[in-house]
């Protein structure tokens, strides 16, 4: 991030009187040695720039190659501890408690950037809902969430789910005010079909569960703040990326969320539970390839090494100086 000499030169005001001239015309006599030295300096500068570019590229390329190799290494995964398994069991219990044909509202508002972290758990939850015979209405309040929802609905339709089981409520613009509108006015007149007619009568109170696939814009917090006061009987479960955990964990602790899958290990544990009792075929079958544990662990180790290497020297020097000051 240091400023290169070229960049510094560009900031100087231009000198219109001087036209670009070859070096020999500018320097009359005895300048051969200097111009030769300049040329060598320019060449070496060019070589340094080129080699610094390569130097910056090699670690990136090496990291990519090693991550690709690591993703094929089997046997390294996230150990399922008590808390992660409990998170998966909470969601399994929330979905397992539904009766056949129970309407479930799924809000898909993940971010395209962080969705890969929760895709496995989301697809497991959708397979779980299909397996339990639930009817699912999908809604989105963010553009990125709508893009994900469209892809997931198309995937479910590809697995043979009919429109009577998955109702597309589309994208509702306006963010949290649109969420309030959904709570107060229900799904509106646009959706058609017997499932839509059933859930139109009593608004959101018709649904037996709301599953929120959260993102930065709309997530479980918006649902707890805006929907729960208006529809208190609607239980809310959530799947979120890790970065939202500090924000939403208190809601799980207070019981405002009936289930929360918020880490990759919890998502993996839940997905494995669904896969273990999934259907042999159809939308209830869950055979999604789980994220590579080896690649993630390798990435974490690289990050730890880089962070420690960059901070260790400074901290050690600081500690040494403090120790010396203490002794003297």
């Amino acid at each position: 991030m240091t400023e290169s000499p070229d960049e510094g030169g560009r900031r100087e005001p231009p000198e219109p009187a001087e036209a670009p001239q070859p070096p020999e015309e500018l320097e009359p006599a005895g300048a051969d040695v200097e111009s030769g030295a300049d040329q060598v300096q320019q060449q070496s500068g060019r070589r340094t720039r080129w080699s610094s570019g390569v130097r910056a590229g090699i670690p990136t390329l090496a990291l990519l190659v090693l991550l690709a190799i690591a993703s094929f290494v089997p046997g390294i995964g996230f150990a399922a501890g008590g808390a992660t398994e409990a998170a998966g069991r909470d969601l399994e219990a929330a979905i397992g408690g539904l009766q056949t044909g129970a309407p479930v509202l799924v809000d898909i508002d993940g971010d395209l950037g962080t969705y890969p972290e929760i895709r496995y758990a989301t697809r497991a939850a959708l397979a779980d809902l299909m397996l339990r015979g639930a009817n699912v209405a999908v809604v989105s309040f963010s553009g990125e969430g709508r893009a994900i929802a469209v892809a997931e609905i198309a995937r479910l339709r590809g697995l043979g789910v009919g429109p009577d089981r998955v109702l597309d409520l589309g994208f509702r613009s306006g963010g949290e005010p649109a969420l309030v509108q959904l709570a107060s006015e229900g799904i509106g007149p646009d959706a058609s079909g017997s499932f839509a007619d059933d859930v139109r009568k009593d608004g959101l109170a018709s649904f037996r569960l709301a599953l929120v696939i959260g993102g930065a814009e709309i997530g479980p917090r918006s649902w707890v703040e805006q929907i729960q006061p208006r529809v208190p009987k609607l239980p809310i479960a959530a799947i979120t990326p890790s970065f939202l955990l500090p924000e939403v964990l208190p809601y799980r602790g207070s019981g405002q969320l009936v289930a929360l899958v918020g880490t990759l290990p919890a998502g993996l544990a839940y997905g494995q539970q669904v896969a273990a009792r999934g259907a042999d075929f159809g939308p209830g079958r869950f055979a999604e390839r789980s994220p590579s544990g080896a690649a993630i662990v390798f990435g974490m180790l690289v990050a730890i090494a880089v962070l420690l290497a960059s901070s260790g020297g400074s901290l050690a020097g600081w500690a040494r100086a403090a120790w010396k000051r203490g002794r003297s």
């Binding site: 991030m1 990136t60 390294i76 995964g77 996230f78 150990a79 501890g81 808390a83 971010d111 395209l112 950037g113 962080t114 890969p116 990125e144 709508r146 893009a147 469209v150 892809a151 198309a154 597309d168 589309g170 994208f171 613009s173 306006g174 963010g175 005010p177 649109a178 309030v180 509108q181 107060s184 006015e185 006061p229 208006r230 955990l245 500090p246 924000e247 964990l249 208190p250 290990p265 544990g293 662990v297 974490m300 180790l301 990050a303 730890i304 880089v306 962070l307 420690l308 960059s310 901070s311 260790g312 400074s314 901290l315 600081w318």
Partner: protein, 204 residues
């Protein structure tokens, strides 16, 4: 006078929505719903106006020959996302062309931008180490410690790491986060109160 009318309208709208939450009254509910619909329309209008302003700004930059590459990229990107959805016969966001643009272009681009977060953090850290070495080093060491706690290690050590990670997440990180949320809420309430009381100069 203008300030008092705007402040009174803002206060009234806010009070109607708040009271509607506390009291079940159909007329009040209808009014609150109407206000909320206005808010949704306002947000949609702001979105459209923002997109139009973006186009106007970048067309203007192209006309003035300033950063032409960036402006062309923005306009082509806008066109690639908008045209397949607005084309005659398209079904909007569900259309195959839109889905293809999202899956083949938008999603990888956003994922790539997110993947740049770590290298960008490293660059920021290297600058931070030059400017404020001690503070940045402490921050980086804390980040490394959190990552170490999250490592999927088996056995007794893994159980200890997991419980330590849960404690760090539930106590210090949650405390900082709650502090931030309370601070943001208090600042928002203060700003709202200043607007409602007419003591905010920027409200004119």
């Amino acid at each position: 006078m203008r300030r008092s009318i705007a402040a009174a309208l803002t206060a009234l709208a806010g009070l109607v929505v708040l009271v509607d939450l506390a009291i079940a009254n159909p007329a009040l509910g209808g009014l609150a719903g109407w206000l909320n619909r206005l808010l949704v329309l306002l947000a949609a209008g702001a979105g459209v106006a923002g997109a139009l302003m973006l186009v106007v700004r970048h067309v203007g930059r192209l006309a003035r020959r300033e950063d032409q590459l960036g402006s062309v990229a923005v306009l082509i990107g806008l066109g690639l996302v908008l045209l397949p959805g607005l084309a005659p016969g398209s079904t909007g966001a569900d259309g195959p062309a839109v889905r293809w643009v999202v899956a083949a272009l938008l999603a990888p681009l956003v994922a790539a931008v997110l993947a740049l977060l770590f290298p960008l953090l490293l660059v920021a850290a290297s600058r931070g180490l030059r400017l404020r070495a001690r503070e940045t080093a402490v921050m980086l060491a804390a980040a490394a410690a959190v990552l170490i706690l999250l490592l999927p290690v088996g056995g007794q050590a893994g159980a200890w790491l997991a419980s330590a990670a849960a404690w760090v997440r539930d106590v210090p990180i949650a405390a900082v986060f709650r502090g931030l949320l309370i601070g943001v809420a208090a600042t928002g309430a203060l700003t709202a109160a200043r607007i409602l009381l007419g003591s905010d100069a920027s409200h004119d």
